[in-house]
Symmetry: C2
Subunit: 118 residues, 2 copies
């Protein structure tokens, strides 16, 4: 039904979206929308554990969504592309309209109290 090249692009697209589809990664990306941060600053901004952050950053970097830069013993991360910010903004717009539906979607519930660093 799908040619191989189309199937490949589909997988790439899904993979890219998957980078955004987790609250931890999303909060990392949100934190980086302002300015580049090092890992410690991201930990402080999100309240997630260091190893968790580091794992997600590894994925985000591999997937090309963020870029890392060593400065002394700190590693600074920033969004890899301005359009990532556009993408997040566009989703916020769409969300404003479909929020009710998304909120009522009980198919894939978020676990109670997960990702809760407060």
């Amino acid at each position: 039904m799908l040619l191989t090249s189309e199937k490949l692009e589909l997988e790439l697209k899904a993979k890219l979206f998957r980078g955004f589809s987790d609250t931890s990664r999303l909060s990392i990306l949100e934190a980086l929308r302002g300015k580049p941060l090092n890992v410690g600053e991201i930990v402080a901004a999100t309240g997630l554990s260091q190893s968790n952050i580091s794992n997600h950053l590894g994925c985000l970097r591999d997937c090309g969504l963020v870029i890392s830069e060593q400065r002394g013993r700190y590693t600074y991360y920033r969004l890899a592309d301005d359009r990532i910010d556009s993408l997040l903004r566009l989703v916020e717009e769409v969300l404003a309209d479909v929020a009710k539906g998304v909120y009522q979607c009980t198919r894939y519930e978020f676990p109670e109290g997960a990702n809760n660093g407060e």
Copy 2:
């Protein structure tokens, strides 16, 4: 670290992205970019099984990404919002630049032969 309302919006955003983060759902959405289709047509277009399609359609509908409309014994589905098309297009653009990185990201591999209706 995050206020409750911010945390909620984060979860909604992640949930919305998750709608796009699966090759099956993505190929359904791609199929619907052209024109509204009924379930049988979507099955033909994607090569996925009927029950699989139906499950994903249920999720996409609950999440507000598609809208369903009964016509006789057929159920037609269409994209819920023009910006969903914009979103997909924007991702294609970003993908063109970061594709290499995404392709090389081996952290979350797609299973061999999965979603392979050909």
